[in-house]
Symmetry: C2
Subunit: 415 residues, 2 copies
Amino acid sequence: MPPEEATAQQGPLSGLRVVEISSYVATPLCGLTLAQLGADVVRVEPLGGAADRTRWPLADSGTSLYWSGLNKGKRAVTVDMASEAERRRVVDLIVRGGPCAVVSNSDRYPEFGYESLSALRPDVIHALLQGRADGGAGVDYTVQAASGFPLITGPAGTDAPVNHVLPAWDIAAGLYLAVGLLAAERDRLVSGRGRSIRVALDDVALATAGNLGYLAEAQVTGHERVKSGNDVFGTYGRDFLTADGVRVMVVILTERHWTKLLAATGLTAVFEGLADTLGIDFSGESQRYEHRELISTLLARWFGGVPFTEAAAVLDRHRILWERYRSFAELGRDGGAELRKSDLFGVVDQPGVGPHLAPKSPVVVDGERPEPRPAPVVGEHNAELLPAAASTAPTVDGPGDGGGTGSLTATRRSG
Amino acid sequence: MPPEEATAQQGPLSGLRVVEISSYVATPLCGLTLAQLGADVVRVEPLGGAADRTRWPLADSGTSLYWSGLNKGKRAVTVDMASEAERRRVVDLIVRGGPCAVVSNSDRYPEFGYESLSALRPDVIHALLQGRADGGAGVDYTVQAASGFPLITGPAGTDAPVNHVLPAWDIAAGLYLAVGLLAAERDRLVSGRGRSIRVALDDVALATAGNLGYLAEAQVTGHERVKSGNDVFGTYGRDFLTADGVRVMVVILTERHWTKLLAATGLTAVFEGLADTLGIDFSGESQRYEHRELISTLLARWFGGVPFTEAAAVLDRHRILWERYRSFAELGRDGGAELRKSDLFGVVDQPGVGPHLAPKSPVVVDGERPEPRPAPVVGEHNAELLPAAASTAPTVDGPGDGGGTGSLTATRRSG
């Protein structure tokens, strides 16, 4: 890719450079999100590439599909992190030229910290991800355990915690970082000053539990949440199995939804009878939640008696809020035929992977979003961003603190 | 709260007004996040309050703890949505005065849409949440079903999908909306123009599955993901039970972690023997993942043989990445003693709930974050924001399209 193409990005963040000194999920997602909105995002890696370059799942070539997904459309440089002179090149990248923000998940090197950088460039924005707000280590999976959610996830009547496979706290933390960074960028445009932004995974988890009412409930009511399978809390929602074994999720939020579901399933008279006999008013959300087992028993009979295509036609005709469970295998099958139906996906020809469908930004700006771009190979942009890069030649510095990983020979596969 | 206090907000978004015409989780979280960073967020509700005002969990008084959590620090006005004149007051709130952004989860009223608003105010920013990008209805629980994740969540060997209790797509979508809105706000400061931002829940789910490599894996490899309980994919991580029945999560990402865990559990010699005998190199992440059952069997024996306090001391001494599973009940117990340890929480005295610990923003700006503020009661800020508000008097308009909910008498519990 010629430099012109790499830097000529469109979008509301065009003109903003983001230097990403990061790994894993949260900080790379922050950078990806900003890149998709037009920022020029440069990922800095140690020699040979960052540790997460080999993270599963892998293509047959050994290229990480995970890394490729989270680093689309960025530029990538490698430096010998053990060398002070090399780290100074990264500092130069940040403090010279147009407006710049830094995204990092480490405070290992003081020169990449807010204090050092703001002394050289008072308008720098610095966004730091922490595992724990108290400075301790934490990753999505450990933060999950402490968050409360795994103990109320999974089938009713079971004890063992069920972790989310989705690293939801990484995702949320990466997006909170982007929000903080852009809030600081607004302030920079108004006042000219930079800001330090900090987001910790454990704060994100506990703030979310608080925002959704879980922690207030635990403090002010005697009620203790327990596992309730796929039942939606406080309203009516559950999964059902059709006669031919297809699993669907159905959600009833309003009285209109409820009336339509009864009409769709032919249960209107049955529930009128139950309402009369048992004195239950099914028209309210909380009443439906309280009597969800009764409702589910009758609905499960209906779903169990019809094949999926018939159930789907009836639910759609009555505009019920429902969805069929899909597997990743199904979503990827036949060259991603299912994904092609959506404007979200575009073809990326990723080195080491080949052409495949990859997502654009879920943020649509003025009705448009740019096509997805490949992730960079190791050191791909060293030549254009670090013109006299010492990283391509042996350094005269000592071995330092061992921060460098990989070998010199692996430094520049492309450039 | 006097008007001065309500509007004198600090933070990098101070001076930006956000008018929120929204409900449920994603759009209110967007507004909450912006309010916590200093924006003046005004939530617009129909007469009597929005439908989500009664969502569970509830305090004994009937006040929604969920609503209170997601609407902290906003101002709230009610208008008769069925009245065109009343809706015009909301339009006035948006188009008059300083810079303004709109957050909405509905395209029901054309005058609140981007086209109408930008005709009156070209620099308006409009952020719309959709259920499905194709315009169809969707909520977190239905989008989850189609996302692929529930079919690979839960114990290995089971078939039924396990939904996340956490509405992760709502959370991510709300934060993506905030990112899009602030990217547009940057562009407005640079170019003076407004933007239309759109985020759909199903796009957020599929984009995330794509960004994390799940969809590329399904397209380009023959590998099909299956449920694997609490095992972390592609590296080593799992939950264990101590001798006294305490559940902990342990994660090993690096060779250093691995060496330390063996030292902590006294298994160094055992694994050296296994490495020699079986020819397995346990030093690599992918090798540890492939042989995770062998590792887990031996670790489970160790954990099962020590009480929790002893295990905790050993793990901490060796700086292992681990965490104990906590319940919401534990987090709320004793007036939130566990939460008080963190700077994240502050006391809010919420009408209908009383004083309790509520989270501040997980985004720390220059080392600080403001104390949490209560959520507004229904129509609390009508008098200051809609001075000659017709909503407090019977309207001369016809019944309109029935968009208004609730009764006139319930309009202003506080002013």
